[in-house]
Point group: C2
Chain length 228, copies 2
DNA sequence: CCCATAATACTCGACTCAGAGTAACCGAGA
DNA sequence: TCTCGGTTACTCTGAGTCGAGTATTATGGG
């Protein structure tokens, strides 16, 4: 059952059909209307395959098919008993059990040493100013919506997004401070590696030099396995 | 070129080959050794298809094929000029331009109203205690590693992860406070909806009742489009 | 020296998903 | 009346991904 709990769009479909039966196009319209695209990755081309797969798994079933004029048929689906259970289980799991999401930026940070430090710093600075603006803008929007009477119940996912964004802004600010004023350990060796790349030396030779020159920072490499 | 900048594993491969030529299995070993699995989603079954696709796109090329004993052949790959450029461009983009990652928990929050408020609260409480423990543990581990001489250069992705985690813990703490002491707007209507579900009323009837009973919170629904 | 286990080095098939494409209908303006 | 863009409601295809499976060779305890 839990085999294919991959695409959250499937969960969204279950939730919609838990409210009332509807046809795929209405799902897509409802999701748009409720701004779910902001918080759930939705590809409207995938919707029909997702619906089909839910049907194959017995979680939803065809209620009726309607034809209006010469338009394509609309197939109305309803959730089954098994589907209700699956929706409750899946949603409960997502709320209570953290899963690792692998944000792309985390991957980028972990590969950052492949760029020279000056360029990396500049790139991160660009990101910081974008994110600062996004944060201010988001805070303004949500404040206005709540003032306008929207219950927090329908804004909680946006509050979460902003909390994470604020944390990233703080993180970047602190990181860039340290990189600028040189208190970021490993920085000198990092710069040296990229200098030496220009000389045509091999990877092993470069490392030998850098470990020798920056013992205090890079000697650690030799017993890195201790932290495994 | 940017057509297939989907899988960060491909970027990791480019970065590894930017350092030195190697064969896929060595990539997988190196990635494991450097703990990249913590920050990059890696499926070692995908590695070979990813390598093949990079080759098809001319970003990497076969350097040699070696056979040691009766083992399967090892195909050693090297990065091309185009591959170096692509690696630099891609990594620069990831560092400087924010992309929306759609964390599963955000999707779950946006679908949370489908569960009754008491259950949702309890599930979030479970999550909070798990995340609190993870945060403490992670902070301990990173402090120990830095004390042990690891340069921050190699820990920056973990620092980021912890910053995000800390923000989530703060967010959840505040949210649960508000949900517990009733200051979370929409809460009463939310509870009522789930009460009424038991009575067999239709979705529309339930909404009519709830909007009537909780005007101050739910009248907003009628002019929700103003915020679109 | 034997056997269980781990490590090495991939292969394969089923599924999923993104994104473009299709085709009918509808209303408004020229 | 013609047509042109927008909406409705899907369909199709190829590329990509998952994750289990396979086959061989070291390794180390008894």
């Amino acid at each position: 059952m839990a085999a294919t709990r991959r695409n959250p769009l499937a969960l969204a479909v279950l939730v919609l059909l838990y409210e009332q039966p509807m046809h795929p196009y209405q799902m897509s319209a409802t999701l748009k209307e409720r701004r779910k695209e902001d918080s759930i990755k939705i590809n409207y081309g995938s919707l029909y395959s997702v619906v089909e797969s839910l049907q194959n798994r017995g979680l939803i079933e065809v209620r009726e098919t309607v034809r209006a004029g010469n338009r394509p048929e609309r197939t109305v689906y309803a959730i089954t008993e098994a589907g209700q259970q699956e929706m409750i289980d899946w949603l409960s799991e997502l709320l209570s059990k953290p899963v690792k999401d692998f944000p792309q930026f985390e991957a980028a940070l972990s590969l950052m040493p492949a760029l020279p430090p000056e360029e990396a710093t500049e790139l991160l600075e660009r990101r910081l100013s974008t994110q600062r603006a996004a944060l201010e803008n988001g805070q303004k929007l949500i404040a206005r919506a709540l003032d306008g009477g929207m219950p927090r119940l329908f804004a909680v996912e946006h509050e979460y997004e902003l909390a994470i964004l604020a944390a990233e802004v703080e993180f970047l600010t602190a990181l860039l401070d340290d990189m600028r004023n040189g208190s970021f350990s490993g920085l000198a060796g990092w710069r040296r590696i990229h200098e030496l790349r220009g000389t045509g030396l091999s990877h092993d030779e470069i490392w030998a030099i850098v470990i020798e020159e920056f013992k205090e920072d890079f000697a650690w490499i030799d017993h890195a396995h201790e932290f495994e």
